[in-house]
């Protein structure tokens, strides 16, 4: 023990003596991860431009663990709704006037089956979308704090994720709605006729050194797919492709397979950028609390949604 101590002290002194030289000659550029100086609690992600032009080391093999922030929008948040087939706005910035029964005229409308179109029309979103209705007429499960469910938690306001890996699982913690999932990597098959779950049943595997692909089934059809009220059936299968581009950056592609509702698969996210955060990043809480929502609806939501006062 004393001998090891002596060696350590010698190494430390040598290191201190050499460090100015090393600093001058070989100091690598600091990555965005190292440069970020987060608060200790309720850490706020840096805006996307903070990442611009930052160099990153190589991606580690078979490793997506870490705290990842959705780097798409400034402020660290995906804008509301799916990115690839956005139904929030009409073309040419025609705005979100709302009131459309379906997706006629949106930039990249989805291809619905007759059952899918009927289900879409039954879902009445109050949030910004070409299908927006006044809040009093809406039936968005989120307005009552019903579970958002997967994949809506990923296709709507995705913010910060923490991923942890064990020998046989990836543990997925989503800031939004405090949703957690377990993705099994022990080689099990997906269940054939599962009882529905809001966040489904997930298995994942590495398809190459840097790409982890997750399949999820058994999703509760009472949840919506996104902010625009896109529906899904109990046959929905979601594929997530986490591709680690380098040490600091990952891309997430989410593909929706639901032949009962859609005549072809579609991508909600296509190479959506996620950025690695420092290891001491503390994720703020963002959950829907029914007691708070009821109070909000009573004091604010239902007041602004009521018909105009007669004078």
């Amino acid at each position: 023990m004393p001998k090891r101590l002596v060696v350590s002290v010698v190494a430390l002194i040598a290191g201190l003596m050499l460090s100015p030289l090393l600093g001058a000659q070989t100091a690598p550029p600091k990555s965005a991860v190292e440069e970020a100086k987060p608060d200790k609690w309720n850490t706020i992600p840096p805006i996307k431009s903070a990442y611009a032009g930052k160099k990153s080391g190589p991606a580690p093999r078979h490793d997506i663990s870490g705290i990842w922030d959705a780097a798409e929008a400034d402020g660290g948040r995906q804008p509301s709704g799916a990115i690839e087939h956005v139904a929030l706005t009409a073309p040419r910035g025609q705005g979100v006037e709302g009131g459309r029964p379906d997706e006629t005229g949106v930039m990249r409308p989805l291809h619905y089956t007759p059952a899918g179109l009927e289900a879409l029309k039954a879902n009445k979103p109050s949030g910004p979308s070409v299908r927006q209705v006044p809040a009093a007429l809406a039936n968005d499960p989120v307005d009552q704090c019903d579970p958002m469910g997967f994949p809506r938690t990923e296709l709507y306001e995705l913010r910060t994720l923490e991923l942890a890996q064990t020998a046989n699982q990836v543990i997925y913690l989503n800031q939004f709605y405090g949703a957690w999932r377990v993705i099994w990597m022990d080689g099990r098959e997906l269940p054939k006729d599962p009882e529905p779950r809001w966040n489904g049943y997930s298995v994942g595997k590495w398809v190459d050194d840097y790409t982890f692909v997750v399949q999820t089934v058994g999703l509760n059809p009472r949840s919506w797919l996104d902010h625009a009220g896109r529906p899904h059936s109990e046959d929905l299968r979601v594929e997530e492709r986490f591709h680690r581009v380098n040490h600091d950056n990952m891309e997430l592609t989410v593909t929706i397979y639901d032949p009962k509702m859609y005549t072809e698969p579609w991508q909600g996210l296509n190479k959506f950028p996620l950025h690695l955060q420092p290891p001491d990043f503390d994720i703020s809480e963002l959950i829907c609390s029914p007691i708070d929502m009821a109070e909000y609806n009573k004091q604010v939501g239902s007041v602004v949604a009521s018909p105009p006062e007669k004078k």
Partner: protein
């Protein structure tokens, strides 16, 4: 060329997304986004909770009557991102807050600048500019 087109389409989607104020639960249909109102009065309550933070303000109208106003913001995480905390307002504070009133004429308004992408509006607390 394709990558250029792709960048442009990303930009277009980005701009459209940015131009949409993010009202999480009740759409902007409820608020008159064309006009700014200034809610000036005394804070009576400040609720820091989901889905949206809101502050209650007693305002004296022209006739000297007290009108109870509510100004709502965004969810607490988004508010933290623009520098608000649970201590930003306390009962008794004299405030002036720029916001957008409900279209139905209710004395409820949405904070201008609540979204990180929307323009900042003026907030005065006890005679001092907030941020």
């Amino acid at each position: 060329m394709i990558s250029k087109l792709r960048n442009i389409s990303f930009l277009v989607v980005g701009l459209l997304a940015i131009s949409v104020p993010l009202f999480a639960h009740h759409g902007n249909a409820a608020y008159d986004t064309s006009k700014t109102v200034t809610v000036k009065g005394t804070v009576t309550d400040y609720v820091w909770s989901n889905p949206h933070v809101f502050v209650k303000v007693d305002v004296k109208d022209d006739g000297g009557n007290t009108v109870h106003w509510i100004v709502e913001g965004q969810n607490p995480v988004s508010m933290l991102q623009i520098g608000w905390t649970k201590n930003t307002f306390k009962p008794g504070d004299e405030v002036e807050i720029d916001a957008m009133q409900a279209k139905n004429g209710a004395s409820v308004a949405f904070l201008g600048g609540a979204s990180p992408t929307a323009p900042r509006r003026r907030i005065m607390i006890n005679g001092k500019q907030f941020q």
